[in-house]
Every structure is written in C-alpha cells, then in structure tokens.
C-alpha cells in the first residue's frame, strides 16, 4: 500500500533573532485510498509541510518516508524524476501553463514523461468525470476558476501519480464547487487507490476527509482517522 510519512520532522528558517520554527517535530501519514486533510490557519506551516512532503525542500530534522523508504535525502534530477513519476501537485494558482490549451497541458506531460501516463480510455473517463471534455481547445485564460481547478486536477492525474498533493485547491471556488472538488478528491482516493493530501483552511472539506490533521504554529495533531 502506498504510504507517505513524516517522522519527527522539523523545519527551521533563519537563525538567531530571525529564527522561525515552521514545523515542530511533526509526525504524519497519508495512505492510498484516503483523502487526508491538513487544516490550519494562515502561517501555521501548511505550505511548508506540503513542500517537504513533495520533496521540494528538505526538513531541518526528521525524515520523509515514501513506502518506508527515505525521500528527504533525494535532490536534483532524482527528486525531479520521482516527483514526475509519483507525485501530482494541484496548486491554488498558476497550475496551468497560460499559453497551452487544455489538450496541450496533457501533451506537455507526455513530452517529459514518456511512459506510465494514463491510457486514452482512462484519460477520457477522467475528462468526463471532471466535466472538462469540451474544454480541450481552450486556453486557461478562457476558463472559470472551477474549470481551471478541475483541469489542474486532471493534469495531475494524467501522469498517474501515487500521491496527489493539493495546496488550497478550493480557494477560488464557490460553495457548490467546493463540494464538487471535495467529492472528486474523495473519489480519486477511493476509486483510483491514491493517497490524496489536501492542505487547506477551508473547513467545508472536512466531511469528505478520511483523515484530518490540525496544524497550528508548526505543531500537528491528528483530529480524525478512519
């Protein structure tokens, strides 16, 4: 079973009087088939946690484990290749390349990741499920906030990653869309057996989550676990 873990992870920025402890001995896990929420106010360390989970920066202390193997010590091309193959990022904004049509966003994935992407049948199923099958020739600038977010999710899914890390994916959405995206993530986690981690301060996502962490001032606590 795919599993993403943080063991006793701390992250410190700066030194002396400028020292900021963004994460303080965090223990965390996200499993395949589950939608994991990390809730917390702005400045609580959510984004730091997400970037460490995704291998974009290293912890000051502790370990990041993927399926029991250390990931935090991977750098450069190895880390790039791992992210490309195993981790799909869905970000609050700028997720899509502005000068590529929706169809070309997927073609870009094909250009850099030659194998292991979704086959045409599963890809078309995803497009239908996300309701974006008629948007393939549109540019990101022609999409609404909700449509952009769904395309970003589809793009992340297209590379067929084991883990989906989403940063404030509902920030630009109205309540109806929030529910839609929450159900979508839940669906992806359960039907496609992926570990979906969503970092947010949007409490409307709680109902769909299998596991909920609260992060306050860099300290994490498990609130709900199935």
């Amino acid at each position: 079973m795919q599993k993403l873990e943080l063991k006793n992870v701390s992250k410190v920025f700066g030194a002396g009087t400028n020292r900021v402890q963004a994460l303080d001995h965090v223990n965390f896990e996200a499993k395949a088939g589950e939608l994991t929420l990390i809730l917390g106010p702005s400045g609580s360390g959510k984004s730091t946690l997400l970037t460490i989970l995704g291998g974009l920066q290293q912890p000051t202390e502790g370990q990041v484990l993927i399926n029991g193997k250390r990931f935090d010590n991977q750098k450069g091309k190895t880390a790039d290749a791992f992210r490309l193959d195993h981790i799909g990022f869905v970000l609050q904004s700028y997720s899509l390349v502005s000068y590529l049509t929706v169809k070309e966003q997927f073609q870009l994935v094909d250009k850099v990741k030659k194998t292991g992407n979704l086959d045409i049948q599963r890809f078309q199923e995803d497009l239908k499920r996300l309701g974006i099958e008629k948007l393939l020739n549109k540019y990101p600038g022609e999409l609404s906030g909700g449509q952009s977010q769904r395309v970003a999710i589809a793009r992340a899914l297209y590379a067929n990653p084991d883990f989906i890390l989403a940063d404030e994916p509902t920030a630009a959405l109205d309540s109806a869309r929030v529910q839609e995206v929450a159900e979508l993530f839940k669906n992806i986690a359960q039907k496609e057996n992926k570990a979906v981690v969503v970092v947010t301060h949007d409490l409307r996502l709680r109902a769909e989550a299998d596991r909920i962490y609260q992060l306050v001032d860099g300290q994490i606590s498990l609130e709900k676990s199935n």
Binding site: I52, D80, L84, F89, L91, V97, Y99, E104, D167
Partner: protein, 351 residues
C-alpha cells in the same frame, strides 16, 4: 521546443515585436556591412582584380602606390630577385569635352599578366599606345567606346577601346593604359619607369630605397582607408553587442513574466534542463526568423538601391554576419537560462 513553439504561437504580438526589433537591428547590421564592404571595395577593387599579393614601391611614397616612382635602376635591381610586374599609377583628371572626372591611371605592359584576371564589360584591351580601357563606372558618366579623352598632365588624346569591371582604386575609377603613356600622364622624365612592382607572390628587397608591402599593408596605407574600415567595424561590433543586449532584455522580461508558471512546472517534476532547452530553442528560433527576414529585406534593398550608393551585398558576408548574429544572440539567453536553472518551486507554493 514544445513549450517554445506553443508560446510563440499563442503570444504572436509579443514575439512579433521581439522579432521585429531584432530584425531591424539585423537589417541595419547588414546594410552597414554592405556599405562598409562597398566603400572598402572602392579602394581595393582594382588591386584585388589583379589577384596580387605584394608590391615593391619607393620608400619615400610612404606606402602610397600612386605617389611612388621607381627609376629604371631600382626596377632592375628589384627584378633580379622578384618576378613582379611593373605598373605605373597616376592620379589625375580625365577630360572629354567639358566633362571632367577624377581618375587613377594604371599603366601596364602590353603583355601584363595582371590584365588576365580583369574582366571587361565591353570592348577590348588596349593594344597600342594612346588607347585606354576605362572603369565601367564611367559609362554612367557618358564616356563611350571610340571617344577621345585626355588624362592628367598629358596633352595627348587617348581613345577609349573598352570598359573594365571592378576597376576602382582609392575611391577613383581606373583608366587602364600602357606603361609608356604613364610617363606622359604623370609628367615624369624618362628615368622613372613606373610606380611599383606587383606580384601574385611574396617579394623582398635589399634596396634600402624601396619598400615591400603585402596587400593588407598597402590598403591600410591608403589615405582614409583604415579609418573608414575601422569606423564601420566598430559600428557593426556595437550593433552586434546591442543586439545581444536586446535579446537578453526581452528574454529576461519574458522569463520574469512566466516565472510562476515555470516554478509550478519545476514543482511538478519537469526538469530544469527541459525548460532551459526550451528557452534556448526559443532564442534560436527568434533569431533565425528575425535574421532570415532581415536577409530578405537586405536582398530587396540590394535590388532597388541606386548604383551610385557604394553597397556591396556579398552573400558570403551576409551569411557570415547572419551566423554571427545568431551565435552572439544566444549569449543573450544566458541570463534567462541562469534564472530558470535557479528557480525555486517553493517560492510559488510558499513555505
């Protein structure tokens, strides 16, 4: 290339403007190069058409062949160790009726090898004294075959029997005639037999009153030649530097504008080498399009430019300049490529 092509396709106006500016700079460089070469050839065309490499001339002439005069003794001494041909140069006024034209008389021996490489555009070579072959530039001034003309200090009349191509020396059209006529036109006594010995090979002399110059040295000694060519060279060099700066500024601005996008792509695991390669490909594409359009524009200009403008659109020169522009333009992409190499995805996501 994928990202580069799609970005340029989507942002046509933006990249059109970038290409337009580089095109104009490249066009200006081509025009200046053609002008530099054209003006330089006004000094050197005749000498180059003789396919010669060196000249022996009087040391007192300070390297100016037209001012040099060699005595029979000097020529005989120099000829002992060299196979140069005697030529006589005289700058003077060509007169026909009321028409006056500054020209350089070049006196050659009847069997001169130097003639072999000079192409005639009409008529034939002078076979007798008092016959001359004029630069075909003088055709436009109304000179014609069988016309009687006077030249320099001579009161004799000379008959035009032909016109020669590329017959310009030190900015003045050349009048080819016999070496015997040179004395009259120059107004010198019989002891002086010519201006110098010209050869297609290296020459040397032990005569302290003579000087040996190779082709490059001879050209550089021509009044104004060196200053003119170096001025153009500096202008072209500065324009190439300006083109590098333009490419660098445009690519820097374009890269900064899409930095967030690029950071997200890095976060998604797209290697920086892929993004750098795309930027490089985009730069090369922009430069090739701009330079090719500039070549087309320069070729169009060559077709319509009046013949009085001394421009020489040499395909080899344009190809070299175009290649240089593309290669140096790539230097302009170094800064954006460095920025992309150092993109930190965390800067977009936060944390």
């Amino acid at each position: 290339m994928f990202l580069a092509l799609h970005e340029m396709k989507k942002e046509k106006l933006r990249y059109g403007l970038v290409i337009g500016v580089i095109l104009l700079v490249a066009y200006l460089i081509f025009i200046l190069s053609a002008l530099a070469q054209g003006l330089a050839s006004q000094n050197t065309n005749a000498f180059n058409s003789w396919k010669s490499q060196s000249v022996i001339l009087n040391k007192d002439a300070n390297g100016n062949l037209a001012q040099s005069m060699m005595t029979r003794n000097q020529v005989e001494t120099a000829s002992e160790s060299n196979k140069g041909e005697i030529v006589g140069l005289a700058q003077g006024i060509l007169k026909a009726g009321n028409a006056r034209q500054s020209a350089t008389f070049v006196g050659l021996t009847e069997k001169s090898n130097l003639r072999q490489n000079v192409q005639l555009s009409s008529g034939h070579w002078n076979n007798n004294d008092n016959e001359v072959v004029l630069s075909d530039k003088l055709k436009d001034q109304g000179f014609h075959i069988n016309q009687k003309v006077k030249m320099g200090l001579s009161n004799e009349e000379y008959t035009i029997v032909g016109f020669a191509k590329k017959a310009v020396y030190n900015m003045a059209p050349v009048v080819y005639g016999s070496i015997d006529d040179w004395s009259n036109i120059k107004g010198v006594t019989g002891d002086f037999v010519g201006s110098g010995l010209i050869s297609s090979t290296k020459q040397s002399t032990t005569d302290g009153s003579l000087q040996v110059l190779n082709k490059k040295e001879l050209f550089n000694k021509m009044p104004g030649y060196s200053a003119q060519t170096q001025t153009f060279l500096f202008m072209i060099a500065f324009l190439i530097i300006i083109s590098i700066v333009i490419v660098a500024i445009f690519l820097y601005i374009l890269t900064m504008q899409k930095l967030e996008n690029l950071a997200v792509l890095r976060a998604q695991g797209i290697p920086s080498s892929y993004l750098i390669w795309n930027t490089l490909a985009q730069t090369v594409l922009i430069l090739i399009i701009a330079v090719l359009l500039a070549v087309v524009l320069a070729a169009g200009t060559a077709l319509i430019i009046p013949t009085a403008v001394p421009m020489s659109f040499d395909p080899r020169l344009i190809a070299t300049t175009a290649g240089l522009l593309i290669v140096t333009g790539i230097i302009g992409a170094v800064i954006p490529m460095r920025i992309i190499a150092k993109i930190d995805p965390v800067s977009v996501i936060g944390g």
